[in-house]
């Protein structure tokens, strides 16, 4: 909803998503340049920036990977452009070297890096805490605790970046990026600041010569953070319990005080609830607890933390994923002579779990534990009665990956050997699950599949003769498989590299990539042909349509029989991205031709093929198509042994 982010109406209130708020913050900061690689929960930011870039006069690109994005921003910063770089936590891991050298060199124009973490790994393979990277790279970091903060921190971070001449990182989490709340808009600049020419003796070099001055910037950041408006305290002067929190923990903690107080007054009335009423003189939780919310998480404002800690009876640290603040607070207090206070937080013996995201119940329980009271819910819920089954993820109806995994599974079975399939990151990661017949047995970060396959592909000298297959999507191919393919080709690994080219970065919402022919700003661009790249590297390459299942099985079987490196590109556009073109066909089951369980196919379409549109009509004991779900690809038509599934053009219906 990028139109809301461009309105020149300061003071107006809108419901904005966290990612929309970040976009608005970028406009208010007057950015010149934005670059990103898609990754949930950050992907919407550059999608929106791309759509409005022309209108607002800045540049935005979907870079080929996160390192390209960050280093492009460093280049733009060299000419004093304000540059915004966006990625998810895994992306940050891949830019480690670039980030560390950027920290050493410092920046010219403001450079702000937004990193979206995904606690609980809702749409990730892991929940790495990227805050640790700010410590390692020795750069300042902020954490918004509300959607409003997410907007306000962007201009603040740009000012800070230019004041310190240093890159500034902002760590968000899924509940900020994908949360929505009221946001008050600020002012938009009338025009963008002019850039500066790079002079003969201007330097932007990340060498160790600058290590001490990098530390001095951190000292300066620490001083600024002592007075930052993003660090707030609410509560009594001398709290029995001081909650130190960052990110989502602030609002969860605030609400927990209400719900605990509610629960306790009910229980005091019933006169039997908390185990140690002595722990509290009165049931008024609010008078006992203070909340210190830290928005400037690195370097920590040491005097601010120490000042509050010294007045507290006990400390509870509430934060998402790693005990990052907790360690920081412990380090500050540990340096203080003759001072000791109990710090509660995460861990095996902690009051908060050390994995997964926070939620209001977890925080409430942690506060209750810290206070030594019982936080049990008042009303016990009834026991489950009906059978609710898991809703596991699967490929969309009509997804070409379903056909690809079926083909590779069948072809591997024909070889009568135990094939090994290496996965990668994208929708096809589901190939590790039922949707892909559990084919994938190796899964690492982006680009890991082809490299691991190259390793296995060298083991024939030890008698290792299992067929090795590596998968990559089209966007992943450009992102991180190119060096791996060069490596595999140069060392002639025994492997089949299958590129699943669905003309989309589908998993994250169909962002364009270099093979698409369209940029983030909607401009046409000459696409980079995957096939030509593979050929130029010197690999034998075949292309095929995965919707031709029978032909695909024969082809993959043949390729698996050949020694050395083979590359196969399966080309078929993502059905969800291109749904409007495909909806023209109607698929249906002819109940006269479908013989149900008498067929002997074992209900192939609904049980083995596994497309959500191929359902079983239990009343008539026949296969059926769920017309609401069916995308009309027609692959099941070609697979039904009885020829009972029919396809017609919708116009002809």
């Amino acid at each position: 909803m990028e139109w809301m982010t461009t309105l020149d109406s300061p003071g107006k209130v809108f419901l904005l998503q966290g990612n929309e708020a970040i976009v608005r913050g970028a406009l208010e900061a007057g950015i010149h340049f934005a670059a990103a690689y898609p990754g949930s929960p950050s992907s919407e930011i550059l999608t929106m920036l791309g759509r409005i870039a022309d209108k607002r006069g800045f540049y935005a690109e979907w870079s080929t990977n996160e390192t390209c994005a960050l280093e492009a921003c460093m280049g733009a910063s060299f000419a004093h452009a304000r540059s915004l770089c966006i990625m998810k936590q895994n992306g940050l891991m891949t830019v480690g070297d670039a980030l560390h050298t950027c920290g050493l060199s410092g920046v010219k124009g403001g450079l702000v890096l937004v990193v979206a973490d995904d606690p609980s790994a809702h749409s990730s393979t892991n929940e790495f805490d990227s805050r640790n990277m700010a410590v390692s790279a020795n750069i300042p970091m902020l954490e918004p605790s509300t959607i409003q903060d997410a907007k306000d921190m962007i201009p603040y971070a740009f000012e800070l970046s230019e004041q310190l001449q240093q890159i500034v990182m902002i760590r968000t989490v899924t509940r900020i990026n994908h949360g929505r709340s009221n946001v008050v808009l600020g002012e938009l600049p009338k025009s963008l600041r002019p850039l500066k020419a790079i002079g003969e003796w201007d330097r932007f070099v990340g060498i160790n010569w600058f290590h001490e001055s990098q530390w001095e910037k951190m000292d300066q950041a620490g001083e600024i953070f002592e007075k930052s408006p993003f660090n707030t305290y609410e509560g009594p002067e001398k709290p029995a319990l001081l909650i130190i929190t960052s990110g989502t923990g602030r609002l969860y903690s605030r609400e927990a005080l209400d719900t605990l107080e509610e629960g306790m007054s009910v229980e005091v009335f019933r006169n039997h609830w908390f185990h140690s009423r002595e722990a509290l003189d009165t049931p008024e939780v609010r008078n006992k607890i203070g909340i210190l919310s830290i928005g400037t998480s690195w370097p920590l404002p040491e005097r601010l933390v120490l000042g509050h800690a010294k007045k507290a009876g006990k400390i509870l640290v509430v934060e998402e994923v790693d005990p990052f603040l907790e360690r920081g607070v412990a380090a500050i207090l540990g340096k203080e002579k003759d001072f000791s206070v109990e710090i509660l937080g995460k861990g095996k013996n902690g009051v908060l779990p050390r994995v997964f995201e926070l939620d209001p119940d977890r925080v409430r329980n942690a506060i209750a534990k810290a206070l030594g009271v019982d936080a049990k819910d008042e009303v016990p819920a009834p026991a489950p009665a009906a059978g609710v089954t898991a809703r596991e993820l699967t490929f969309c109806a009509g997804c070409p990956h379903r056909a690809t995994f079926f083909i590779v599974k069948q072809a591997l079975e024909l070889t009568e050997t135990q094939g090994v399939v290496m996965g990668d990151i994208g929708c096809y990661t589901l190939g590790a699950q039922r949707a892909g017949h559990y084919l994938i047995s190796f899964l690492g970060c982006m680009g890991a599949g082809i490299n691991a396959a190259e390793g296995l592909g060298q083991l024939n000298r030890f008698g290792f003769d299992q067929p090795v297959v590596a998968f990559s999507g089209d966007s992943t191919f450009f992102h991180s498989c190119l060096p791996g393919l060069v490596n595999a080709r140069y060392h002639n690994a025994n492997m089949l590299f299958v590129i699943l080219d669905n003309s989309a970065t589908a998993m994250t919402g169909f962002q364009p990539h270099p093979g698409i022919g369209r940029t983030a700003m909607g401009h046409p661009a000459e696409p980079v042909s995957i096939q030509k790249v593979v050929e130029a590297i010197g690999c034998p390459v075949t292309t095929a349509d995965p919707y031709d299942v029978e032909g695909g099985i024969r082809l993959v079987y043949d390729l698996l029989k050949q020694p050395g490196l083979k590359v196969l590109i399966f080309q078929q556009p993502c059905v969800t991205a291109h749904i409007r073109t495909i909806e023209k066909t109607k698929i249906w089951v002819d109940p006269e031709l479908c013989r149900g369980d008498a067929c002997g196919c074992g209900r192939f379409c609904s049980r083995i093929w596994g497309c959500p549109a191929n359902i079983w009509d239990d009343a008539n004991k026949r296969a059926a198509i769920d017309e609401v779900v069916c995308a009309g690809c027609g692959v099941c038509v070609s697979l039904c042994p009885a020829g009972a599934i029919k396809m017609v053009e919708k116009e002809a219906v």
């Binding site: 419901l15 809702h122 949360g179 709340s181 009906a386 609710v388 596991e392 589901l430 596994g610 609401v628």
Partner: protein, 211 residues
């Protein structure tokens, strides 16, 4: 501000399966509320939702305070379910004896059920358990209503219409007209408005019949 008396915060959960229009529905509802001067928050749990997973949005409404985007367990005042089993899944964690639940009884079968490894509960079982957990349970055939206009993708809008007919929610049909007009092109807007009214009327009829 509305004259309807509502709890503060008012907690609404919208749940279903990826692709059913859950996010759009929660965004419309919350935007309509913000336009009316409320503080609203939405927490969207979608993850890899386009791949057929469970999806839910938490919408929280207050006159004064900003709340965290997640609703505590068993604190939902209203649950809007786009799919029966998903409605029950969410009710188990978030409903209490005063919760009002509206759901579309049309099932969307998970992979395990299609493959025959798991059974899908009967509609009666789902309904019985929902009634056991919630104060009020209403069935709105939203997909059928949407299909009757030739636009099955608008089942989410039918359910928003039904939700609007409930006395607990401080928005009116006209508020939706405004926010929908900001978001949809003319043709889609007209289709959505048609479906919205069908949902609204279906709920009104149910309320009348049960007075």
């Amino acid at each position: 501000m509305s004259e309807k008396v509502i709890p503060d915060p008012l907690n609404i959960i919208i749940c279903g399966v990826g692709g059913q229009g859950n996010i759009v529905a929660s965004e419309l509802l919350a935007s309509a509320l913000v336009e009316k001067g409320f503080r609203a928050t939405v927490g969207e749990t979608y993850g890899a939702s386009q791949r057929g997973g469970s999806v839910m949005s938490h919408v929280r409404i207050s006159k004064t305070l900003e709340y965290g985007v997640l609703i505590p367990q068993h604190k939902a005042h209203l649950i809007v379910g786009f799919e029966p089993m998903e409605t029950l899944r969410i009710a188990r964690d978030y409903a209490n004896k005063e919760t009002t639940t509206i759901f579309d009884p049309r099932p969307n079968y998970p992979l395990g059920v299609l493959i025959g490894e798991a059974a899908y509960p009967s509609l009666q079982e789902v309904e019985d358990e929902l009634c056991d957990r919630c104060g009020f349970v209403w069935k709105i055939p939203a997909t059928d209503l949407a299909l009757s206009t030739g636009n099955f993708r608008a089942a989410n809008i039918a359910l928003m219409g039904a939700l609007t007919a409930l006395p607990q929610v401080p928005v009116e049909a006209a508020d939706y007209d405004r926010v929908m007009a900001q978001r949809f092109p003319e043709k889609v807007l007209a289709q959505n408005q048609e479906v919205f009214v069908l949902g609204y009327e279906a709920m009104r009829e149910l309320l009348e019949m049960n007075r």
